[in-house]
């Protein structure tokens, strides 16, 4: 295990176990043992390691453990915090993953005082190089291994009567290994950093109870490269948000962005975003919504509008039994997204079986991408503690199918 990884996990363990004895904290924890299997017929060769080397992964099933932990509480008066941590330790397999041993930690601090809101966040992902793939980046003609990501963000929101302001800044550092494969299979690798600063500002005004207008500015500075991957835009938009009555609500947004970047298609300089979401209730049991998102652009040179993507989602949920722990429901929907081959149909059912035991099953079919189904059986030992077993099978269109069985426990305390 890498030294940095060990330090990170140790730090987290210290935080978790010292906080366990403090009062006023809410903790959510989920730990699961997972077993991965595939119907792949051939072993695969991947490159991993501190000193890059080729490794052959066989098709036998593999095991692992996934631990998720979240602690939140009050630090001082208006200051609250949340610590989130995801740790995955598993054997290398055919699974669709970049790293099989990583720790993802997020530390968030919030300050809320009437109309003022401030959030400070530090996030870190540390991957153990021994279990992290070198990924082939076709356009760049090389392989990279993401080893550590730091992300520090600050977000301020303030309301001043009808006027609102939102300011956001984010500094990201990616520590990666860069690999050139020589013909005689001697791997040459070098460490590199990718640093980016993102900033965003939005000023908005409530024109009425339902209507809001806003202007925004976004700027990304790629600190490594000259100006090639810099990006900025100015936006102006109008939003309508109204709950007409208990049964009907509509939220729509139209925004125009003036983009300024070199690395993206010139046609997208004038960019239009249209979003609409209509929510409908039919009594207490049946609810549904329709979401439509369109992205289009106008190219000055060709004097022509272009369609970037359309996404229409229709979703309905029928709740037929209301229980303390989990409602029993049937949920179904379709997503229409032809430009990204993202058309899909999905359904899910949650059913109370007996004695605090629930069964959830679902399926999804995306004709261009994959089909997947899962079954989960959960037993609530107490309302805040449960044990469960979950089986998820996914058949991808362009790669072997995979099956993941997880046996886990969820605890809230």
């Amino acid at each position: 295990m890498g030294c940095r990884m060990k330090k990170n996990i140790l730090l987290l363990l210290i935080i978790v176990f010292t906080q366990l004895h403090l009062s006023g904290l809410t903790q959510w924890m989920q730990v699961s043992l997972r077993n991965f299997s595939t119907n792949a017929e051939h072993d695969i060769d991947i490159i991993t390691g501190d000193t890059p080397q080729a490794e052959t992964i066989d098709t036998a099933s593999k095991g692992g453990i996934f631990w998720q932990h979240e602690i939140s509480g009050n630090l001082y008066r208006n200051i609250t915090f949340t610590l989130e941590n995801d740790l995955l330790v598993s054997e290398m397999s055919h699974e669709f993953k970049n790293s099989f041993f990583f720790n993802d930690a997020r530390f968030k601090f919030y300050y809320r005082n009437g109309s003022q809101y401030l959030k400070l966040q530090y996030a870190n992902r540390t991957c153990n190089p021994a279990a992290t793939k070198f990924l082939n980046i076709p356009d760049m003609g090389h392989n990279t291994q993401q080893q550590m990501i730091h992300n520090t963000a600050l977000h301020y929101k303030g309301n001043h009567g009808r006027f609102h302001i939102s300011l956001y800044g984010n500094l990201r550092n990616l520590d990666y290994e860069y690999l050139t494969i020589e013909e005689d299979e001697v791997f040459e690798s070098e460490s590199a950093w990718d640093n980016d600063i993102y900033s965003y500002a939005e000023f908005s005004c409530n024109i009425s109870d339902q209507w809001r207008s806003f202007i925004s500015g976004y700027y990304k500075d790629d600190l490594n490269n000259s100006d090639e991957f810099d990006d900025s835009n100015l936006g102006i938009g109008l939003e309508f948000d109204n709950r007409f009555d208990f049964f009907n609500a509509l939220k729509t947004k139209v925004v125009y962005y003036n983009n300024n970047f070199d690395s993206i298609d010139d046609e997208k300089d004038h960019y239009f975003l249209t979003e609409a979401r209509y929510t409908k209730r039919f009594g207490n049991s049946l609810t549904g919504f329709v979401t439509y998102i369109n992205r289009s652009c106008y190219d000055d040179d060709q004097s022509q509008f272009f369609r970037i993507s359309n996404m229409l989602r229709v979703h309905a949920k029928y709740t037929y039994q209301i229980r303390n722990l989990k409602d029993s429901f049937i949920l179904t929907g379709v997503k229409y997204n032809p430009e990204n081959d993202g058309n899909l149909i999905f359904g899910e059912v949650n059913q109370y079986l007996l004695k605090d035991i629930y069964l959830t099953a679902g399926a999804k079919y995306a004709s261009e991408l994959f089909s997947t189904c899962f079954v989960k059986c959960e037993y609530f030992i107490t309302p805040l503690r449960s044990v469960w077993i979950n089986n998820k099978f996914t058949d991808f269109n362009n790669k072997p199918a995979q099956n993941i069985i997880s046996l886990g426990t969820t605890l809230i305390f």
Partner: protein, 80 residues
């Protein structure tokens, strides 16, 4: 409200049929569907995805190479 909905549907039809499709796809996140699970962030080979101000995933289009891995992994089908 019905009239507003009809306008919206007409606008959608106009935007859909009225213009030619751009050759390169572009992936974005439907923030109303995203549950902030972070799976897309962990799979992206270009480190192009991070959480934005509202805690929902955002794609940096200058980094994205349109590999489509994120759309396949998202449990909420929020990527389009």
């Amino acid at each position: 409200m019905k009239r507003r909905l009809i306008y919206l549907i007409l606008l959608g039809i106009l935007l859909y049929f009225g213009c030619e499709k751009l050759s390169n796809p572009e992936y974005n996140i439907d923030t109303s569907a995203c549950n902030s699970c972070g799976e897309c962030i962990q799979i992206c080979p270009m480190d192009a995805i991070e959480f934005g101000p509202d805690g929902k995933a955002v794609i940096d289009q200058t980094k994205c190479n349109q590999c489509g891995k994120c759309i396949t992994i998202c449990p909420k089908d929020a990527i389009h």
